[in-house]
Symmetry: D2
Subunit: 364 residues, 4 copies
């Protein structure tokens, strides 16, 4: 029961990389929300393999089918089930990996935990699992847009050693989508693309950083003390494959400042609204959103599955050499951008409902 | 309902900084576990204010009372309730803060969310809230010790600009407790203590990094895809006051390596056990513990409440100047060490029970 | 982890019959709710032992202390912790029962499940456990009164073979409280009191039925398909000690009617409101409240602990004879009335918040 | 978020009566469980419409497709998703009901709660919703069979005024399945079938009682105080469409007995096992299974949708007359039998995992 996420707006996902398909049930969505179904498919298209020449060449259309919960494009308040069929399976590519555990992949730990593992392709540990998250996130985004005109922008800000140079608060979705690596700094983007290609050609892989800004978040989201907004965001993002680190606002760099330097001074404002001169808090104070932009960063490690030969062991514990065949992403970040903004959307939408439930019964 | 943490082993905490007291209910603890009650008090003593001259001088004994769940020091399998009375209250010290929102503290967001806030001292946003976590963590640690001889060691590895120089895998609890800043590198510790004093004397504050290693973790902990072990750890730790960042294993530094450099080669082993030549994974692969040491790092920002005068607003939104009186920690890290190891213990113990529930019904 | 109840408004209870005390954490209560603390104590007084000569003569004042969550009698939106100390313990009375399992009590199953049990008095299986429910229910009732002027009335409608004769929709709290058996039909009440005394004097016990009506419930409560309102009510009430059956509306008698007789015809009404000519539905249709009075009935078995000698076994499985000493209720129903209305209040208040969270974000 | 049931073994269902399909995700199933997929389809066949001439003549094959979670018929420990496509839709039959609220059906309350409802056929309130429960239950049954040889038998024991005359502990699945009304007393069964036909021909409907016995339940299931086994069973069964009452063991008839008559004397036994001379407890004491047969009864009201003309209102609140067209069951009970045993199986299997998680970590 680790495949459900959220409290009031809740997704439950299913599906292995190979098998009948993958999908999601979105439960708790408010009724009478107009859903643009094209936007769901569009988000899946941003995630799908084969979308460009720096991702895996596996061709999967990832066509979504909505089975329930909508009537003429409007939510009924009942569960929204969405499925995507699996296609283009070449289980043969994975044969060697059944015997040889891929280093730093999930093969060995799934075997250790469950005593069995999907025959090929990573099973539930495949990035294909995130289809349900992205489809659910596309619902959450439309909810947030209606409720507070909230918009979530994520982008690639670093690939291996190459960093983007830009003002996070000014990044637009158009700029993100203007190139295949999803870095809004065009110069850096070109370098990154070139670099990923080069590393991919070496049979190797690289990681990087995805950054995310939320514009117009509602004030008051977050449920101290355990379901603080940054805690739920951290969990959401650290549940994505290949993540190694999470920062909110100033993150690890906060430690180099004194309190008097790090504190965000409040600016004069109307009662009920808040604004700060700086935003080291990343839009969250005491676990609760203050209305300033929410700002976070996630580290993704280099892809574990590489063509380069590596020392490893087989399922009997004996040493062997593995050079993965298959068709793998040399760098997951371009396709991980919609995973990040989807998870952020799901957390925020859930907390909108939770805040509504506890704190909006009366005004006085 | 954000005050409960865990799935099978679950803590629910309560209490404001000022009021009758604070405490915790630990539900789901296995029956017939021998509890050393002194260890619970000992952990609370590591957390309590006034323990040294680099923490707040507030004197609070934080004496725990166990109300239920134990019979002659053995768990009954029923809820274990523990309370600590509040003492030494000087609400007068907080009077100004009722009118002036402390920058980067929770005053303003609690007011924005709930439309009301505790009269003084941070209420539920006070670090005093963590007493329940530490008392619950002391139970979890004893459970883990029995189940797999698992031991959790946390320590201060950086204060502001001063870094410890040590081998994380060799840190002992004794070394951590050998000085008041809880940094096992004695040279660095002395510098840190001096630095905290100096910054405190300036009416300012500083942050740093707490690092944590888990020795002998069970294999197979973690529930993909959302309750991956690192995801639940991230949530647990990012729910602590003043945290800004989380890293597992190689963390943000993973992005500077290629896959062939970052992957942890498996070493020859007996079937059923795993070991790796390096540990960039931090003991977790595919969201599941692999039996190697779990290794994580958390960034704490500088304390928000400082004596230095700061620009801010009052509850009407008008500008004002605040110089906090009260008695505040210039640096939370020494007292946060037991908060960190307690939260790690609670996550691991909960996952031990979850793994037991799903995967240990039969052997074959 | 079976000691927490509710989704958004959630109680976690703790405490054995003997030990430091019992209590509850109420989490998720909306902020800025005025709480009359006297009403909490008044509800506990309706539940406490020794309140009349047909209940156990154990004298326990059951004085509640509120530790957190309130400021000057107003909720903060943070957890409300309440404790009641244990007193007047005579563990000696229970000595025999430690060796002899009481038939139809929880001694044997607790031992079977946990491999250990509280030394005396039923431990967590004692009715004393319900103090936390009643204290939490007293908060929920005040919330419901504010939100929709909702009022919950429960009463004893049958004791053993003696039935009350009355119109459920006209029962008042005053009438319920006008006699010690809490049956608003005075004639029947006198008979019941006499009967309980007689059975008690025989060293025996009896059961009966408690009935409950909710006036002015909000429309729209209930979360199909699993958290239907009657499903959550059934769970809430069947979790009370000694319950054996639950009915909503027409209950088991529904089976004697045809559909055309059982269906409740809708009456002409303003759009948005509903009313029906009959109320076989008991105020709930399709798992959702329709605004008509919610009506339910619960069967309580005769108390298991009796003074009469009974055949049983000891913890080794060997036959023995048990004649309970202690001071036990010959009939739990008079004291169970506030347990019933409290559990109903907790379910409804939780669903008010859930309905608010999912369905009240916008109007159109 | 009322569409998920269970704690460790958890089902999430989706789907309206008309739309793409219905289905379920089963999460938390132990790995390495051999699943007979034919048994899943067989259970769905027991539930499907059109199976006999006393059910609705709608023909729906209800063919299940398993999308994930199995490898060569063995569970992976990952979510098992199953879907059944919708077919044979005649939305025209429901047109009138869109304007006229069916008395005692969910049309009016869904509209009141959500402000919108599925265009036809009951949407989520249709009995079609239970397909996911039955498919999930078929997994749970196979788990229980493996763990403790546990078997669950449910049957129709009363239809309207006609009662079966039999010994509940001797009912076999073969006897239940030997006739179309699923009553193992053949004489009563023939009468029931005749009676349902007659009432159906009148355009009317009837209800009745389904009874259920669990053979060889594990000892120790149930999580006091809120998740007592009977409480979770009550919720599970009262969440089924058309249920009005629930009894465990002696149920409402317990109130006619004194304690000395009602208590179940323990019989001499080996340490660790329990057996009782009578079973008024219905296999559960103190909320925990004692190893005796679990025995429960559920009241189902007469079907709300009937062909007979009824007074009602339309969505504007104005009076109208409704005579339902469509093809409806005159009596839901024959098809509800597998719904009942499925829900019981899901509760027990979940509690097997919960008991394993908390209480089986060590022996001593």
């Amino acid at each position: 029961m680790g495949n459900t996420f959220g409290t009031l707006l809740r997704i439950s996902t299913f599906g292995e990389s190979h098998g009948g398909g993958v999908g999601v049930i979105v439960d708790g969505c408010p009724p009478r929300l107009k859903i643009n179904e094209h936007l769901i498919q569009a988000e899946l298209d941003r995630r799908r393999p084969g979308q460009s020449n720096i991702t895996t060449p596996r061709k999967e259309a990832d066509q979504v089918e909505i089975l329930s919960g909508l009537l003429n494009g409007v939510t009924l308040g009942t569960p929204i089930a969405m499925i995507v069929r699996n296609k283009d399976q070449r289980p043969g590519d994975y044969k060697e990996m059944q015997v040889a555990f891929r280093p730093s992949h999930a093969d060995a730990t799934y075997q250790g935990k469950y005593g069995i593992q999907a025959g090929s392709g990573g099973g539930r540990a495949s990035a294909r699992e995130t289809i349900g998250r992205v489809a659910g996130g596309a619902i959450a985004k439309q909810l947030l847009a209606k409720v507070n005109n909230t918009e979530i922008i994520a982008w690639v800000s670093q690939i291996h050693t190459i960093r983007a140079n830009l003002d996070p608060s000014k990044v637009t979705l158009e700029a993100v989508e203007s190139n295949i690596v999803r870095c809004p700094d065009k110069l850096a983007a070109n370098e990154m693309i070139e670099h990923i290609r080069k590393i991919g050609n070496q049979g190797d892989s690289c990681g990087g950083i995805i950054e995310c800004i939320v514009h117009h978040p509602p004030i008051g989201l977050g449920m101290p003390v355990f379901d603080k907004l940054e805690a739920d965001l951290a969990k959401a993002l650290m549940s994505l494959p290949a993540t190694k680190g999470f920062e909110i606002g100033s993150g690890f760099s906060s430690i180099l400042l004194k309190g008097s330097e790090h504190n965000d001074p409040f600016l004069e404002s109307n009662q009920g609204s808040l604004s700060t001169a700086t935003n080291n808090s990343g839009g969250i104070q005491g676990g609760i959103s203050n209305g300033e932009k929410i700002h976070l960063r996630i580290a993704f490690k280099p892809t574990a599955t590489i063509r380069k030969a590596q020392k490893t062991i087989n399922s009997l514990g004996s040493p062997t050499i593995l050079a993965a065949k298959g068709r793998h992403d040399p760098c997951v970040l371009p396709r991980a951008v919609p995973m990040v903004d989807s998870m952020v959307a799901l957390v925020l939408a859930d907390h909108v409902l939770r805040q509504q439930g506890q704190c909006k019964l009366w005004k006085d």
